[in-house]
């Protein structure tokens, strides 16, 4: 596996009980780039995303076939601790979910339980700066995280994820609940973040994927089982200007979906 891929999936299929939600995905997610997963709703984008940090296991009765390699290591091996996986791979959710604690505590909490030994104040400030939130909250660190606006809350969640120094940040439709200005801020932030982290984003907004990402995976429901699979994975400008698959072309030109 080449060193430029953070994730490599090999014939990955994801099951809920007997239902195959995602079928046979083999892609390489490149390091320090933004990769977008797009497709019509219900085609398994979030399910695929959650497979990267084993969050699927919070649902009952799920299992996978195939492999998911993170930095060359299969994260679904029996000897691997899912808690460690989630520590190294951060996640931001569709609806911002800061803890009902102070802004400071929101950022510091996870680092603390993982045994952070250095100066906590510095870590909190650095994380908030990287999330482009420091200037707006530096005077109200003790206020509740829930007192911020929607966009600010989402950036707080990003800061929270950054504080534990992950290698990858997974984002599940992070701006879908935000107004256009807040969305723009998040998109700008992502460009900054990719210098230090790898970002994988699920979005139903094609224009956003086109603006923001370097690589794009196009997913769709196929086959008799109606399972989601990646029908095309390529550099973003190629997907949106000269896609190889006709279905991709139909989707990105708005002919359906």
């Amino acid at each position: 596996m080449d060193n430029n891929s953070v994730f490599e999936t090999r014939s990955l299929s994801i099951f809920y009980g007997n239902f195959m939600a995602v079928a046979d995905v083999s892609i390489n997610v490149p390091r320090h780039k933004i990769t977008a997963i797009i497709g019509p709703s219900g085609c398994g984008k979030s399910t695929l995303l959650r497979a990267f940090n084993r969050m699927n296991e919070l649902f009952p009765d799920t299992h996978i076939h195939g492999d998911v390699l993170f930095d060359g290591q299969n994260i679904y091996e029996k000897s691997v601790d899912p808690v460690e996986v989630r520590y190294r791979i951060g996640m931001v959710f569709q609806k911002a979910n800061p803890f009902p604690k102070s802004i400071y505590e929101n950022v510091a909490w996870a680092a603390r339980i993982h045994g952070h030994k250095g100066n906590m104040d510095e870590l909190v400030e650095s994380s908030l700066r990287q999330a482009a939130l420091w200037d707006e909250v530096k005077d109200k660190m003790k206020q509740s995280g829930l007192s911020l606006s929607g966009g600010q809350q989402q950036r707080l969640c990003i800061a929270r994820a950054i504080a534990v120094k992950p290698e990858v940040i997974l984002m599940d439709e992070p701006a879908s609940a935000l107004d256009p200005i807040a969305t723009l801020k998040i998109e700008e932030l992502m460009q900054e973040l990719k210098q230090k982290y790898t970002i994988v984003i699920v979005t139903h907004n094609m224009q956003q994927a086109a603006r923001v990402s370097d690589y794009t995976a196009m997913m769709m429901l196929t086959g008799e089982t109606r399972s989601g699979t990646v029908i095309e994975f390529d550099a973003t400008n190629k997907i949106f200007t000269r896609p190889a698959d006709k279905r991709t072309e139909d989707y990105v030109t708005g002919r359906f979906g």
Partner: protein, 318 residues
Amino acid sequence: MAQKNANGLNQDPGPERPAMTLKRRQRPGENVIQSLLFIAGFFSIFTTLGIVYELGKEAWLFFRLPEVNIWKFLTGTQWQPHINEFGILPLVSATLVTTAIAMLIAIPLGLAAALYLSEYASKKTRNTLKPVLEILAGIPTIVYGYFALTFVTPLLRTIFGSDIVDIYNTGSAGLVMGILILPLITSISEDALNSVPRSLREAAYGLGATKLEVAVKIVLPAALSGIAAAVILGISRAIGETMIVAVAAGAGPNFTLNPFKAAETMTGHIVRISGGDLSYDSIDYNSIFAIGLMLFFMTLTLNIISQRIVRRFREVYE
């Protein structure tokens, strides 16, 4: 020299972190905690097993005694241990009389109150009346017992004459029990009435029905299973009620259906016997368990039936 970007951060290639593996870490603390929590959950099973085992064991000892015959136990009309009469019917009859009187009060009044609160009352009225009913439910039963003995009985004796109404009688105990159970019936019935979908009411109003007709002919029948569950729970509560009857109904088994006379219920008997001098393994001691076992099965059966009905009615509307 690292360059700083617009945010004041060093532009180094990646955040520093120690190399670490993804190896599964030993987390013994988690396992210990999970075991402790499971034991806590298991305690409830311990309680049920304890109840069934202890009641069963001692009752078995009771029924094994030569003086006791299970058939006569269930059908005999005299409970006089000193002459080896162990018929439980006097106790059961008193229980049934008090329960019946209690339900005669609690069901009509409770249902009417539920109808009023759910179909007629404004939000403000509801918010004032509901807490009062909840207070009724929170008063300790010994206080109700006192009330029955010192207020209701003299009242009955004034109304019906003191030669007809004894000082201890099952009637006042039953009446006060009805007041005790009334809030239970009201709150469960009200939940049932509220769960009936608005669309049903609107259809009826649209056809020109009056409020009374909608409430009684449409909503009430639709909520019937929930109301039935409430009634059954109320009966179960009445059967198990102890202090009101212990104080006001009388001491000493008496096989009668006359509510103006004194009689002892199953629960009252248990309390009286265990309140006195009780030596372990005496026949009195064992008889407590036999009666208790009967009581347990009666209330358990009623509760299970009630739960089944609630489950069925929830399915209909969800």
